[in-house]
Each structure stands twice: as C-alpha cells, then as structure tokens.
C-alpha cells in the first residue's frame, strides 16, 4: 500500500529522495481524510523551508489543511499542474508530488518513518 521507495512523516507527508532532491507529497491516508481536494497552494521556486515548516495549503470541500516540509531545503521545482487539477491528489496521492526540495541537511532525514512504520501509524 505505502511504497517503500520513500519516507513518511507523522503529519502524513511523504518524501522520496532522487539523487540531490527530495520529492514531496501527501499520503493516501491524508487524501482519504481530507476528501475531495479542490485547492492546492504551493510555494514559489527558490523559497527555503525548514523541516516541519508549513510550505503550502491544501483544501478539500470541507476543510483546510497545512502542508509541512518533511525535510528542510530550497524549493527547486513546484508541480503547478496540481493548482489546475487538484483532484489528482485524490486519484494518485503517491504519484501527485507537490514540490521538489534540495535538502539542506542530511540530518533532517533522521526520524522519518519507513513505509512499514507509517502503515502501523495509520492502521
């Protein structure tokens, strides 16, 4: 269910490391809890965030939620397609990435959850 090629947070984000970048999205559990996603607000490229900092906002019909950076770093790419079709987050949460970060510190990855640990968390 939860791909093992990435790490997870207690706030229900995932991060997949591809060489020098970390690709960030939200989990299937998170999209289920939100319901139909209708709005995604993402940062500009070049913004720097710290681990745990709010990097964006996601809204479903019913609710507003904040997006927290799983690791700190500089935003190097933003999935602008999501602002046009936010429903992709419901359809393919583990494919619909939101931002790519250049991590500022390898230490930030410590404490992130494995797929197995995350599965237990949301069980």
């Amino acid at each position: 269910m939860y791909p093992s090629d990435r790490k997870y947070t207690n706030d229900h984000e995932w991060v997949r490391f591809e060489g020098e970048t970390g690709v960030v999205g939200i989990t299937d559990y998170a999209q289920q809890q939100l319901g139909d996603v209708v709005y995604v607000e993402l940062p500009d490229v070049g913004k720097t965030v710290t681990k745990g900092e709010v990097f964006g906002t996601i809204e479903s019909v019913k609710a507003v939620s904040e997006l927290f950076a799983p690791v700190g770093g500089e935003v190097v790419e933003v999935n602008t397609a999501l602002t046009q079709s936010p429903e992709q987050v419901n359809g393919d949460p583990h494919g619909a990435w939101m931002i790519k970060l250049r991590p500022s510190s390898a230490a930030d990855a410590e404490g992130l959850l494995s797929a197995e640990q995350y599965s237990d968390l949301v069980k």
Binding site: G35, D36, Y39, S60, K62
Partner: protein, 372 residues
C-alpha cells in the same frame, strides 16, 4: 449546542445502514451522522443531475395542537401561518423577543388546529423549552416533542419524482412544492413532503423509525436505474449553499434578524403581534447597518466560515459560510457586510488566512434549478 463531550452521540434508525455503506461518520448536533459515502463531489453532482438519498432523521419534530394552536404558532414564528392551508408548508423563523433567530424551521399545517414544526437537530430541547415558555399564556394548546416518532429521509434531485412515484399511490404530479400528503411508500405508511435543502426538486418522507431501513433500501433499489447514491451531510451543506439557503448556527443565529439575513419574505408583516415584531418592523422602515449577501471569489482562494470581510483593508464583517462548490465549480460564500457594500457587483475583500483576496457581491441564490 448544549451537548457536553461526555454525552454519548445519538444515532438515527439508519445508523447501522450508514456503517454498512462504509460512510464516514461525524458528530453533528449531538448525533453520529454520515458526512460522506462516495465523496462530497460525487454525491453533490448526483443530486444536481440525478438523485440522492439523505438520512435527516436527526431533524426534530415539535407539534402544537388545540384550539389555540394557530395563535401560539403565530406568536413564536415570524411567517403568517394563517395563510397555510391544511397540507401546506412554509419556511419561517422561531423568533426571540429581540427579533432574532432562536432557530429556523418548516411549519406544516397538519389540520386546522394542528401544526408540525421541523427544527434543527441540535436545537430540539432548547426549542421545545423556549416554545413552551412563550406559549404558556395560551390556554388551549398542547406542545409535544414527537421527534422520536419519525424517521426522515430526503430523496432529492431531478429524478426524485420518477424514483418515488412507482413506490406510492400518492399522485406526486399533483403535489406542489411546499405541500405534503399522507400515503404509503413501499407499503410503509408515512407522510410525503415536497421539500428539501438542496435547491432541487425532491421529497422528504416521514415514516415510523422501525420502517426506516426498509424504506431506505426500497428507495435505493427503485433509484438504481436513475443512478441514485446515498448522500451525507457534506453534500447537504454544499448543495444548500449553492441554493443560497441559510444554515442556522452559521448564517443565522440569536444575533441576527430575518431582515439582516435578507429573509424579509418569511416575516408576516401584517400580523398584529409576534415575538420581536417591533424590532423587525423598525429595521424594515429604517434599514439595517449590515446585510447577508452572497459573494464569489475573484482572486484564487476559498473563503471559509469565520473569515473577516474587509473594505478598504478594515474588517467590516464576517463570512458565515464558504466553500468551493462542486457543481458551479466556484469559490462562493455568504457574509454579513455593511449595507453600503451589499449591492451585487460591489467588490469586497476576504481575509483568507492573512491574505486579502478580492470577491464580488452576487445575488442569491448562486444556483437555481430550471423548472420544467
């Protein structure tokens, strides 16, 4: 809401059925209710284009009967119940002495001297106590809380009549909007009301609680060919907002009057007396400082309940309802704004989590069905 966290949530007679459908359940007004089954957008679209089925058994029923029943209803309710024929329904306000909403309600004239009030779930005990105290001076009227005697399901959408007609001997083509009739549905004796909270054609069906599940399944089966879906409170809220219908506790409450809420049409202006009459009469003559309006976001963003309304960067009002609506696909809402900013076409700003975003005042409702 008077419930404390320690109160166990109440359940409707369809609770087990909702769990069997895999609904997401939430606490609402002291009840454990389905918020969504297949998803708010899917359910919303089904009701706009086909048909949806809601459990609204949490709604309350209060009945007034006796020779003074009409006078009692006229005293506590803003609308003019003397104009209701037996079998007819209207929307009204349960009025405070200050001219504000204790609740909003539907008034059913069951007989010349018998009225049924459908009130909001979270307000049932408070409404009952309030009405009892306010009508104590009327000699010959009985007030009964009959909420436990009724399960209530709402069949809503353009296909609603096509789904319901084969299940009942009642002639639905002769049943006008805001009228009701008694009859059997799927062999269950009940009351069929052509009302709803979605802006679509539809029916609300009152049956004994023990028969609710059988009715629910019969309606789902009868509606299968029309693409019926069970629908939850989430879609109910987005549907009513598109239709410009006020939600008590959000858009109207003990601090707002029918005139401020732009609901002057539910006030029986030529009635001699009712609670709060002087206040609303004065407001009608002198105007009010603020008014409830509809708005559409111009800038990208969604306004939500409680967000401040800004004019010239100063907070002047408050958003009472707001969402991104599935059918119109727009971010819309309702807000109280100064009367000077309440005309359609005027630009206001909404403080969306610290960012002022532009919105335009638009006429209510946002969505109006085409009547065939």
């Amino acid at each position: 809401m008077t419930d404390t966290p320690s109160d166990p949530l109440k359940t409707t007679p369809l609770h087990a059925r909702h769990l069997a459908h895999g609904a997401r359940m939430v606490p609402f007004g002291g009840w454990d209710m389905p918020v969504e089954y297949s998803g708010i957008t899917d359910e919303h679209m089904a009701v706009r284009t086909r048909v949806g089925l809601f459990d609204v058994s949490h709604m309350g029923q209060l009945e007034l009967a006796g020779p003074d029943a009409l006078a009692a209803v006229q005293h506590v309710s803003s609308n003019d119940a003397s104009r209701l024929k037996v079998g007819q329904i209207h929307y009204s306000a349960l009025m405070s002495p200050e001219g504000t909403f204790v609740d909003d309600l539907l008034v059913y004239r069951m007989a010349d001297e018998h009225f049924l009030l459908v009130v909001n779930a979270g307000n049932i005990p408070a409404d009952f106590d309030y009405i009892r105290s306010q009508v104590a001076g009327f000699a010959d009227v009985d007030l009964v809380d009959s909420s436990a005697r009724y399960a209530l399901v709402a069949l809503q959408g353009p296909a609603a009549a096509r789904v319901l007609q084969p299940l009942t001997g009642a002639d639905l083509s002769g049943l006008k909007y805001y009228w009701f009739t008694h009859g059997e549905v799927a062999g269950i004796r009940g009351m069929i009301s052509r009302t709803g909270y979605t802006g679509e054609d539809g029916f609300e069906i009152f049956v004994p609680p023990a028969d609710a599940d059988r009715l629910w399944l019969a309606l789902l089966e009868a509606g299968a060919g029309e693409g019926i879906v069970p629908a939850g409170l989430g879609a109910r809220d987005t549907l009513r907002l598109e239709a410009g219908m006020r939600l008590h506790g959000n858009d109207i409450d003990r601090g707002t009057t029918p005139v401020e809420a732009d609901l002057s049409w539910i006030v029986g202006w030529h009635k001699d007396a009712f609670l709060g009459r002087e206040v609303v009469l004065r407001q009608r003559e002198e105007g009010t400082a603020r008014r409830l309006v509809g708005f559409e976001m111009v800038d990208r963003g969604i306004a939500r309940h409680g967000y401040p309304v800004l004019v010239d960067a100063a907070p002047v009002g408050i958003v009472t309802s707001g969402t991104q609506t599935p059918y119109l696909k727009k971010a819309i809402g309702m807000a109280y704004v100064p009367t000077g900013a309440a005309e359609p076409g005027q630009t206001i700003s909404i403080d969306v989590r610290g960012r002022p975003l532009r919105a335009t005042v638009v006429p209510l409702p946002f969505y109006k069905r085409s009547r065939s």
